[in-house]
Amino acid sequence: MKKVLALVLTLMLVLSVAAFAEKAGEGITIGVVYKQSGNAYFQAGVTGFEQAAEELGFEFMHDGPDDGSSDGQIRIIENYIAQGVDALCISANDPAALVDVCNEAREAGIKVISWDAKVDAEGRDLDVEPASAQVIGVTQLDSIVNSIGGEGQIAIVSAMATAPNQNLWISFIEEALNSGDEKYANIEYVGTVYGDDEYTKSFNETQALLEKYPDLKGIIVPTTVGGPAVCKCIQDAGRDVKVTGLTLASDMKEFIDAGIADETFLWNPIELGYASSYAAVALVKGDFTGAVGEKIECGELGELEVTESDDGGSILFLNKLNSFTKDTVDAWVDIL
């Protein structure tokens, strides 16, 4: 009798463990909307959703308009609402244009997450973005400091002088340089020039920098258009100046291989999709509300904290940039 009881108890234990091991996202359907179909960047994002789906067991559909328009996205979202998805993950073509349809979805009980490009605060539950401006700025600064061996002159070749993102990043770079931190003690920052996100303008500005500062050691280029132009200029001039910045892997492969850039950065769309999945599942299950200060476990990415966004909504930063180096750039050239 005791043996039977023990057996039954053991069996129950095993069964309960098995039941416990049922995946968190089982039975949840997520509708993923991105900016434009056929874009390699968003295909990589979808890969992130696939990875998370394997771990969490949810189902997802994905689509984006052919023309990269907001109204195309609205049609897709309405379609998803009609199909009764549990959550939407949207990379918005226009932050304001999607607010109405997103609220329509939320009234129907659907959780709305924007990822990569936000939906305005009043139309979303959570925004998932790669990194805070501070992390983006300081990561680039630390990289160039490393590349040039911790001492020498550095400059920045930015986009438009009025570009808000770039200016914010640059302000964090300048703040770090002025913070009195030991590792920047031997770095002399000579200033920022603006290539206006035009290839030739960036090229000419770099030429002038090189001529004006014969001892220049490093350049930070926080814009994808400027990156290859700055590198090509340095290559032609035959100068030993290192470059880092936010760049596409395909643009930079040549120059990373040539040693002009040791390391450049861009966020990882795969991780964005992956983190969005975890947030969506947690929101649907109700054990996470997306409020500022809340923490969420995002699988491989670890625990992330929700912070307040500039627009007053809540935002989840991965605070991790993807780096392209000699070893990793090849894997990314077809994606970014």
């Binding site: 200033g191 020039v193 030739t200 500005e205 030429q207 001529e211 090509k232």
Partner: protein, 336 residues
Amino acid sequence: MQNKERKPIYSILIEHREIPLLAVLALLLVAVSIRVPGYLGKSWLNVLKNGSINMVMCCGMLCVLLIGSIDISITAILAFAGAVAGKLMGTGAIQSTVLMFVLGIAIGAAVGAINGVLMSYGRVISLIVTLSTSYIVRALIPMEWLLGMNKINPTQLTQGFKDSLINHSFLGLPFLVWLAVLVVVITGVFLKYTRTGRNLYAVGSNAEAAQMRGVPINRIRVLAHTICGATAGLAGIMWLAFYAAIEKGSALGDEMFTIAACVLGGVAVTGGYGKIGGVVIGALMIAFIDSAIPQMGIGNSMITEFIKGILLLIAILLNVVLQRVAEKQDLARRNI
């Protein structure tokens, strides 16, 4: 009146409009050299290199302006020819550097010929014709059925091609510059010493009279536009070899600097008057302004466009004033 044959200095100035322009260029050079000591010594090669592509297009633009027409599709042709050739090299269809140049010129000439036929036989204003073709050929670049192209990266080009214009030099000047010199010389000889070349002037100054004299004016007009297109196509390949990258928006808006260089060089936009020498100086002046402004002061980049506009205006005004003075003196001397 012993020296009856001797011409006074004023009439020399009138006959050679490029002389006052040269004075303006020298003046600007001095001004910049005061601000940036040693400017010319450091930057002369960059000025020549950066100005080469515009210089080549100026030669074509001169031919078109001479017949009283205009072509604002040149930079679109530049991007299109560069993109087609670059794509073909990227897929491995073309490996030969020479073939790239031949292809670029052929594509450019074809588009230019279309411009010319529409403008002459079709009797559409050249401004409208070339505006239309500029939109069309630029839009063809990303079309899926044609190129489906986002961007040409350095990795898609052969090393031989990338080295062809920059890393080979003769008498200290890279081939890029020599190519521009070659095009200038050919254009100069063509315009001055061939019957067809002289006919361009005839058509531009008085089309009816030219027709009476038996000049095939429509054929001449098509020819002028074809030449212009060909130089733009060549410029596209030069761009690709120099910058090792090209995309839909490459050189967007730069056609105005080509036209500005010609006008600075004393070419009449109404047709019939213009010399290659003046155009060369005009193009040099534009290249010089482009190179000098970034060096005049880092951090002032926000107002570079402003300075560029002012400098262009000063240059053209000084040129006009000097011209007026010379003309007046000449008239006064002849007691008119």
